[in-house]
């Protein structure tokens, strides 16, 4: 009965979303009419709010019921039979609920519904028209995805007769990462859709201004924090799970998460201009549309079956067509609304080219260029395939096209926080930029003298990372650290995080040492500063796999011996072999080991990497997310204080 209850909850939620959309449309018309002094003044917000909350709750109930059938291993549910196995560890039964096509789409709408409910509960500052239109837009997005689930992708379908056991989950997904990576990314995607709904609401209500920007900003920030975490976690997961030694492959699926992040980063900065300086009105709305389009394209790329990777579960063409239709409908609708209403958005405040706003515009333009490059590189193979040409676009393209622009962006990023709002003096800026420029020069020369033979892009990357690190903390110089507002701390930490991450990327690319050997037991191998010895090979067994395990001991000079145990794992359901890398993290980098095949003459293949400072990549990502969180908390606190102050004034009056 659990599955049927879940399906019923989904139908109820879909019906409520339809009601929410209809009532919101009616409510907006009434309110706009009332504003012009005709018609009824009664508004429907009182009805739309609870509907939005209940709709979100029902979607969550459906998701909870799906998790329940997975945890109970109810093989009469088709999805469980196809993607689960009764002997799978509990964590993967639980997380396996979204480790497949239907379940992951259900998780998507659940988060969307809950976010809509949260807007209905917590948003108190927006004008009623804007809020009601926002909730209407949110319902319109949800409705499409409910239709998708109910008509072509039902997660609760039964199978009769029920098989004795399931087919199991793709072993590459059987990792604790599965429990965190998809939900974090989805919260990011969905948060962007909320920001988009705010933009739609503001366009419909003709209310694009600082108030709308302040209401939208926490959602953009929140979405951006989760996207950052999701991308960082996904990158580390791919790094240790795939055993290829790389941390970013420019895989279309990775790009699908990077593109919304780039757009959200641009939006985050332009929304700040709109909220504080009332500039860049139309541009901010446009970016909200673009960011949402990117998260829709991301969903389409990953979920339509057009790509093949661990992420692409379904190859059912009707689903791809349905998602494509939704994509065209939403992006087309958003652009049409933008085109129709943008004329009503009056120009905001102006500013000098040399100013904080100017630097933020530069940031936005450069991010847009990178976004464009990534988008073209990602979609080109798909378009070419439509013309019968098979090709792939890989790291060389993205490194060559996006790399230099990204470094230029770092320059803008270093200068931005050192500029004043509205107008500044270029000569004074040069003086303020002296320390970062000095850091750039010193590090550049040091690497050239010590490193030797470093390629241009990583070399510039390391030097710019040093400059950015110095420039990031510059806004704190000479200030009482206790009185610096929390959101300024947020900016400093986030920018510093980018510098840290960039240093890690450049160091990994410049100084990685790799070796590939067929090793005999007892034979020492050299990689970077380490000597790695194969002590032996032994079979071992896990909950649903068996494995061959290499016992390695690594030693640096006369230091302590590190034990590493890379494995080659054999899964029976489905039959798959995966290699589990073993990684030793030390202060200045990671030693990464992978076990290959045995050659039948007493040797096994070993792939060894020494990656100096590679951990900085993800540490930087975490810092960026922490910076975002500090900024979010700081903004929310300031808003609350401001509201309390106006509340006091009203009480006085």
């Amino acid at each position: 009965m659990t599955a049927e209850a879940g399906l019923a909850a989904l139908w109820f939620a879909a019906t409520l979303a339809a009601m929410q959309l209809a009532l919101a449309a009616l409510g907006v018309r009434r309110l706009l009419a009332a504003q012009e002094g005709r018609g009824l003044t009664a508004d429907l917000l009182g009805a739309v709010r609870p509907i939005a909350i209940v709709q979100g709750a029902l979607a969550a109930v459906a998701m909870a019921l799906l998790i329940a059938v997975f945890v109970r291993s109810d093989m009469s549910v088709l999805l469980v039979a196809e993607n689960s196995h009764s002997e799978k560890p509990l964590l993967y039964k639980f997380a396996g609920a979204w480790g497949n096509h239907e379940g992951s789409m259900l998780l998507w709408v659940t988060i969307l519904g809950l976010a809509g409910g949260a807007v209905a509960i917590f948003e108190r500052t927006l004008p009623r028209v804007t809020l009601i239109a926002t909730l209407g837009a949110q319902a319109a997005i949800a409705l499409g995805f409910y239709a998708f689930l109910l008509f072509v992708s039902n997660p609760f379908a039964r199978i009769d007769p029920a098989p004795l056991d399931g087919q199991g989950l793709n072993p590459l997904l059987q990792d604790p990462g599965l429990a965190f990576h998809p939900p974090t990314l989805y919260i990011g995607y969905v948060g962007i859709s909320v920001a988009f709904s705010f933009a739609v609401g503001a366009l419909i209500a003709r209310d694009v201004g600082p108030a709308f920007a302040r209401a939208m900003r926490p959602w953009v920030l929140g979405a951006w924090i989760f996207l950052t975490l999701g991308i960082t976690a996904g990158s580390y997961w791919a790094y240790y799970e795939l055993g290829w030694g790389g941390w970013w492959f420019w895989d279309p699926v990775e790009n699908a998460s990077l593109m919304p992040w780039l757009a959200a980063t641009a939006l985050l900065h332009s929304v700040t201009v709109l909220a504080t300086r009332d500039g860049l009105r139309a541009w901010t709305v446009m970016l909200a549309v673009v960011a949402f389009s990117m998260s829709m394209i991301g969903t389409f790329l990953v979920r339509s079956g057009i790509l093949t990777s661990v992420h692409a579960f379904a190859v059912d063409p009707s689903r791809g067509t349905f998602i494509l239709a939704l994509l065209v409908l939403y992006i087309g609708g958003a652009l049409a609304l933008f085109a129709a209403r943008i004329g009503t958005v009056r120009a905001g405040n102006t500013f000098d080219p040399v100013s904080r706003e100017g630097a933020l515009v530069a940031n936005n333009l450069l991010l847009s260029v990178i976004l464009g490059v990534v988008l073209i590189g990602t979609l080109y193979p798909i378009v070419a395939a439509g013309f019968g040409v098979q090709l792939s676009v890989g790291p060389p393209f993205f490194d060559k096209a996006a790399g230099p622009v990204a470094l230029l962006l770092v320059v803008a990023m270093a200068a931005g926080p050192l500029l004043r709002w509205r107008r500044d003096d270029a000569r004074v800026l040069v003086v303020r930029m002296a320390p970062p420029i000095a850091a750039f020069g010193v590090v550049l020369v040091a690497v050239l003298l010590l490193g030797g033979g470093v390629a241009l892009l990583p070399l510039l990357g390391i030097a710019l990372a040093a400059a950015l690190a110095v420039a990031s903390v510059a806004p704190l110089w000479g200030r009482n650290l206790l009185r610096v507002p929390l959101f300024t701390w947020g900016m400093v930490v986030a920018h510093l995080g980018i510098a840290v991450s960039l240093a890690g990327m450049a160091s990994e690319s410049a100084f990685t040492r790799a070796t590939l050997v067929a090793a005999r037991v007892g034979e020492p191998q050299r990689v970077g500063p380490y000597t790695v010895t194969l002590d032996g090979i032994a079979p071992t067994i896990g909950p649903n796999w068996s494995a061959l395990e290499a016992h390695l001991s690594a030693r640096r000079g006369s230091g302590t011996v590190i034990q590493l145990r890379p494995q080659s794992r054999f899964f029976t359901s489905p039959v798959t072999v995966t290699s589990e890398s073993a990684i030793a993290t030390v202060l200045d980098g990671q030693l990464y080991t992978v076990l290959g095949q045995a050659d039948g003459q007493g040797r096994v293949q070993l792939r060894l990497w020494w990656k100096p400072f590679v951990t900085l990549i993800w540490l930087g990502g975490a810092l960026v997310a922490i910076g975002g969180a500090l900024s979010l908390i700081g903004r929310l606190r300031r808003e609350r204080r401001a509201r309390r102050r106006t509340g006091d004034e009203e009480a006085w009056a």
């Binding site: 260029v369 060559k400 096209a401 489905p574």
Partner: protein, 144 residues
């Protein structure tokens, strides 16, 4: 600067950025996109030299030769029309085996052989690359 002028400037800058992105991407695509070849395509159109490409087909039965260093292998990729000898150093994917599908990333040498930097093998029935599914299908029909 008047607000209207500034707005115009921003619009122009935005369009400029989009154009720059498109130009940058297209110029890089021209020499960086890796085209997909089956051995038969190479026979028909000639060797694509001096660029990274992908070679797809079946690993010919009995063709995998392990080299003395223990990490290099040589094998032959076929699509039923033509064959290409491939050299690869590294850990081959677990499902790389004779009579099974493979996509090799790398470059052709002037003598017609292929040096692979990476091998992609069929993961399992569920996770087969579509381009490979297509090629394999052709290969199967050719064999019949």
């Amino acid at each position: 600067m008047k607000p209207k002028q500034q707005r115009l400037m921003l619009v122009l800058l935005g369009l400029g950025a989009v154009a720059a992105a498109a130009l940058l991407a297209l110029s890089a695509l021209k020499d960086q996109a890796a085209f997909f070849y089956a051995p038969g395509d190479v026979k028909r159109t000639g060797l694509p030299l001096g660029r990274a490409v992908r070679l797809g087909g079946m690993v010919e039965d009995g063709s995998i030769k392990r080299q003395a260093d223990g990490v290099s292998i040589r094998f032959v990729v076929t699509d039923g029309v033509a064959t290409v000898p491939v050299a690869f150093s590294g850990i081959a994917p677990d499902l790389f085996r004779e009579g099974s599908g493979v996509v090799a990333e790398g470059r052709f040498s002037p003598d017609g052989s292929f040096t692979a930097t990476n091998l992609l093998a069929k993961h399992d029935e569920k996770y087969m690359p579509p381009q490979m599914a297509g090629k394999m299908h052709e290969t199967k029909t050719l064999r019949q």
